[in-house]
């Protein structure tokens, strides 16, 4: 008896979410757009930027150094400036992000075995990109210096051997795109679950639901299961696109990934139900979802690492289920994270799931009385 009641409710919820063509569009179009934007626009890496050069040296060595910048893939072209003032004006105008200033004694000092100095002027208005450019240029100059004296019999005293594990080319797409397996279903599930009760409220059918034989926990399950089905289905489709379309290899176990996703989505559903139990119209539900989703996204390590946040914000990040699922997804896709490390991230999500679902159930029980 209870089973037929529940399955009828689940079927009704799934129909309600997808029957309206406008609502269907609103559920399907944004994820597709985000997938596209993420794959091609979400990059912090710096490439294809012009680099400015102010060369006051007349020797050969400085021209050899500049030709190395020309060959570097990060830079699109070399723009030469005649004086310090022109170079400064170019940075002010944001014509170039950096100017490499080679002083007039560069070649002489280098030939004499002394230590010449190269000054790099950078635009701190975009300090993250400027730091990356600074790193590239520093590495090129340092390599140039050691190559220049390769002929001499005194070897370099020490050198840096730089290795990148898990994602050897430091490719942004490999690091960013798998994350969508969690963030896009999260957005969709929040919309479906968050709107569902609000819609019933607006249409006045919620009272009918309350006077039906359904118990509060049955209503919760009936609203939760469709969200879980849709969320997991979307996660599966995106996983396919990520692994087949973008050719990003899942190095860990698929089963563990979906175990984590299931716990994560249950926690998200709890949040959605809770929002839904507070609001009285779809408009309000949408505002509520936005107010919850933005911090959830930004305080999760999604766009910048959690460890950079101030310490008073860290507990909030730890309570956020998205933080943990992102660690799991990055770990399983790129690092082949062992199961016991994944488990460390699953239980905090399980705790949030239990807390949010019971809070929502409690709100519904209160409404019944």
């Amino acid at each position: 008896m209870m089973q037929t009641r529940l399955s009828a409710l689940i079927k009704k919820e799934l129909l309600a979410a997808f029957r309206d063509p406008k609502a269907r569009l609103a559920l399907i179009l944004p994820p597709l757009l985000q997938l596209f934007l993420f794959a091609y626009a979400a990059t912090l890496e710096v490439s294809n930027v012009p680099v400015g050069v102010l060369n006051q040296d007349w020797g050969m060595a400085s021209e050899q150094l500049i030709s190395r910048f020309e060959r570097a893939s990060a830079f699109s072209e070399i723009r030469r400036y005649q004086g310090l003032r022109a170079a400064q004006a170019a940075i002010d105008r944001q014509e170039v992000m950096c100017v490499v200033h080679i002083a007039q004694d560069f070649s002489r000092k280098l030939a004499a075995g002394e230590q010449p100095t190269v000054e790099i002027l950078l635009d701190g208005r975009r300090s993250n990109s400027a730091q990356l450019v600074n790193g590239y240029i520093g590495a090129i100059i340092s390599q140039f210096g050691s190559d220049y004296h390769l002929g001499s019999d005194v070897p370099q005293a020490s050198e840096i051997v730089d290795r990148t594990w898990y994602n050897p080319n430091r490719d942004y797409r490999e690091a960013m795109v798998p994350i969508l397996i969690a963030t896009l279903p999260m957005a969709m599930v929040l919309m479906i679950v968050g709107m569902s009760v609000a819609r019933e409220r607006e249409l006045g059918t919620f009272e009918q639901l309350l006077v039906s034989p359904l118990q509060p926990f049955e209503i919760v399950i009936g609203k939760a299961v469709p969200g879980l089905i849709v969320g997991l289905a979307q996660a599966a489709v995106i996983s396919l696109i990520v692994t087949q379309g973008f050719q990003i290899r899942l190095s860990g176990s698929l089963f563990v990934l979906f175990l984590g996703l299931t716990v994560f989505l249950v926690a998200v559903i709890g949040i959605g139900l809770f929002i839904s139990s507070l609001v009285s119209s779809q408009q309000q539900a949408m505002m509520g979802i936005m107010v919850v989703m933005m911090p959830a996204m930004m305080l999760s390590g999604f766009s910048s690492p959690v460890q950079n946040m101030p310490s008073w914000l860290q507990p909030l990040a730890m309570a956020n289920p998205l933080t943990h699922i992102l660690v799991i997804i990055r770990g399983l896709f790129l690092r082949d994270m062992p199961f016991w490390l994944v488990a460390e991230r699953i239980w905090p999500m399980a705790v949030s799931a239990v807390v949010t679902i019971s809070a929502a159930a409690w709100m519904f029980t209160r409404k019944m009385q």
Binding site: D92, E119, I120, G135, D162, R163, A175, Q284, M287, V291
Partner: protein, 377 residues
């Protein structure tokens, strides 16, 4: 014409009062006008940071000698590293896999021996590529620490090793390299975009949805007056939000304002007019509030987030996306904001940006006027 003018101004004033009351009373407008801006400013000011000031690294010293202790000290003395030490690299491999540390630096057992013998001693750096940005910063920091350690060693011994070039980097406008200084102006652009377009689209589409627009237009209120009423109240709201954002930027987040406040407000007024006309245009296309808010998110908010250049690097995107970024108004506004806040009133940046924004605003406004007329006929 002159006879109707006093009446017209009275009508417009009444409309503005009505609009303002409507925004203040409706909870969802209140959320868009006050809660979301505060949240965005807070998140970008505190939550997002690219400043890996204390990257966690594991330093593996396979055989401790005075040389390796010296190297450890030069790492620990910079504010950039949180160093843990071990004699075996296996101790750190699980930590790296779990994301608990950002990198491993290995000084092999023969490090001191090779240094003493005059062979090249390798310093191996292993970074976690699953966070490419932090990986890049870790390499950069290690490179810097290594250079200063090498320079100090060279000072100690008589001869400079050949081929060493000292690199002296100067970051203008933001020598402390705080990412907050470009993220907060960027988030102001998102806030202004949201108030300008999302709020305008919502309040105008509500009039269409409820049919009150027909009721309003059957009164002496003309379509132009109706639009002016909507625009003026939202414009005032946007400027108020701007004032609050500027105060928060200056006094909560300690961001310098190197340009003048008048330039900032004038430039913001131009951008706000673009955002408002975009919102009006959306409201004439979308018939319902739900659709209007979805469209505003897709047309105004997402491009403002991805293609304004404050979070993601436009130059690194593929060519079609770079071309698209050129028509995103937020891109010009962010450029101007970062300049006014961090660099000063630089005409070479601000004038072209203002001209482009003003042109966009005129175009969008003309489109709106045409669409509105068509819908009423």
């Amino acid at each position: 014409m002159s006879a109707t003018r006093p009446g017209r101004w009275r009508r417009i004033r009444a409309l503005i009062i009505k609009e303002t009351l409507q925004v203040v009373r409706d909870p969802s407008s209140f959320v868009v006008a006050f809660v979301l801006p505060a949240l965005l400013l807070f998140l970008f000011g505190f939550g997002i940071s690219f400043d890996a000031t204390r990257v966690k690294v594991g330093l593996v010293i396979e055989e401790p000698t005075p040389e390796t202790t010296w190297f450890l000290a030069s790492l620990a003395n910079t504010p950039f590293f949180d160093v843990r030490q071990s004699s075996d690299r296996r101790a750190f491999i699980d930590d790296l896999a779990a994301g608990r540390i950002n990198g491993i630096i290995v000084l092999a057992g023969d490090f001191a021996e090779r240094l003493a013998r005059g062979d090249t001693a390798a310093i191996q750096v292993i970074t976690d590529g699953s966070d490419p940005n932090t990986a890049g910063l870790v390499s950069g920091y290690v490179q810097g620490a290594w250079q200063s350690w090498r320079d100090q060693r060279a000072l100690g011994s008589a001869n400079v090793a050949p081929g060493q070039i000292a690199v002296n980097s100067r970051f203008w406008f933001n020598p402390e390299l705080e990412s907050r200084r470009f993220l907060v102006p960027g988030s102001i652009s998102l806030i202004e975009m949201m108030i300008g377009s999302l709020l305008t689209a919502l309040v105008v589409s509500r009039e269409w949805e409820r049919g009150t627009i027909e009721a309003l237009l059957s009164t002496p209120v003309g379509i132009i007056e109706f639009i002016i009423g909507k625009v003026v109240s939202n414009f005032a709201l946007g400027m108020c939000a701007m004032g609050i954002c500027v105060l928060a930027a200056l006094f909560v987040f300690n961001i310098p304002l190197r340009g003048s406040i008048f330039t900032l407000l004038g430039f913001t007024a131009i951008f706000l007019s673009v955002a408002l006309s975009l919102g009006l245009l959306i409201s004439t296309v979308a018939r319902t509030q739900f659709l209007a808010s979805q469209m505003a998110m897709l047309v105004a908010f997402l491009p403002g987030l991805y293609f304004s250049g404050f979070l993601f690097e436009i130059a690194s995107m593929p060519a079609p996306l770079r071309a698209f970024a050129a028509i995103v108004p937020s891109k010009y506004y962010v450029q101007g904001l970062q300049t006014i806040f961090l660099a000063g009133d630089i005409g070479a940046v601000l004038l072209p940006a203002s001209v482009v924004l003003a042109a966009m605003s005129l175009l969008l406004f003309a489109l709106t006027a045409r669409n509105t007329k068509q819908r009423l006929d």
